[in-house]
């Protein structure tokens, strides 16, 4: 919990741009393979997904079966995002 006099946490958070990729059925729902989103620096991947879920309710239905990635590695939904990060929401994989 931030102390009120901690200037680092009370300062306005910088907004950063992240790249977002969609694959498989998610690409069909969103209607694009790639997008860019501005959000406060340090926002978790979950917050980014919520924005798309609000735009595309059908996307939100798949949340339980998705895994997130940040910069080509699987990442926890709580992972904070920073400028230039590449995020993808990955449906269950079916290669092979």
């Amino acid at each position: 919990m931030a102390a009120p006099n901690d200037s680092r946490t009370t300062a306005a958070t910088e907004t950063v741009l992240v790249k977002v990729l969609f694959f498989g059925r998610l690409k069909e729902i969103v209607g694009a393979a790639e997008d860019a989103m501005e959000l406060p620096d340090g926002s978790p991947i979950e917050a980014l997904f919520s924005r798309y879920g609000a735009r595309h309710p059908e996307l939100a239905r798949f949340r339980a079966s998705l895994v997130a990635s940040r910069n080509q590695e699987f990442a926890a939904w709580s992972t904070p995002l920073h400028a230039g990060d590449e995020v993808a929401f990955l449906p269950p994989v079916s290669g092979g």
């Binding site: 080509q72 926890a76 992972t79 994989v93 079916s94």
Partner: protein, 158 residues
Amino acid sequence: MSELSQNDLILLVREPLAHAALVEHVRQPEDGAVVTFDGCVRNHSQGRRTLYLDYEAYDSMALGKMRQIAKQIHEKFPIHRVAIAHRLGRLEIGETSVFIAVSSAHRPAAFEACRYAIDTLKRTVPIWKKEYFEDGAVWADGEVPPAPVETRAAKPAS
């Protein structure tokens, strides 16, 4: 798109896979065995007749995950060389979608490593297939990759 590291061959291709070239790549004079896995397009899925498949990948991450699999099987098994190739795009019935070749001095390592490689690929590599039937198309039921444990500290996955 290809990557050559430490004599392993990791590929995503959009044309028919060259099985013989992959086998020749891993087969060296010091090897006593080459084990291959040829994953091919089946003409039926859950009781329906399949017409063809269409594969897509998160290319950069898929190559990274395939490289990690090659690294893992070198660590786990006394093998020599590995080739892992996956095809993308439209594939007809009977065509090869994935081909894995592993060489080793003695056969048990190559058998086990090849099995480990395909099982891990199917669970962790971001590739998806859409199945086309006479009456429509669906994204194949897949496997949910093992996700990093959620932590409040939210340190980036390494």
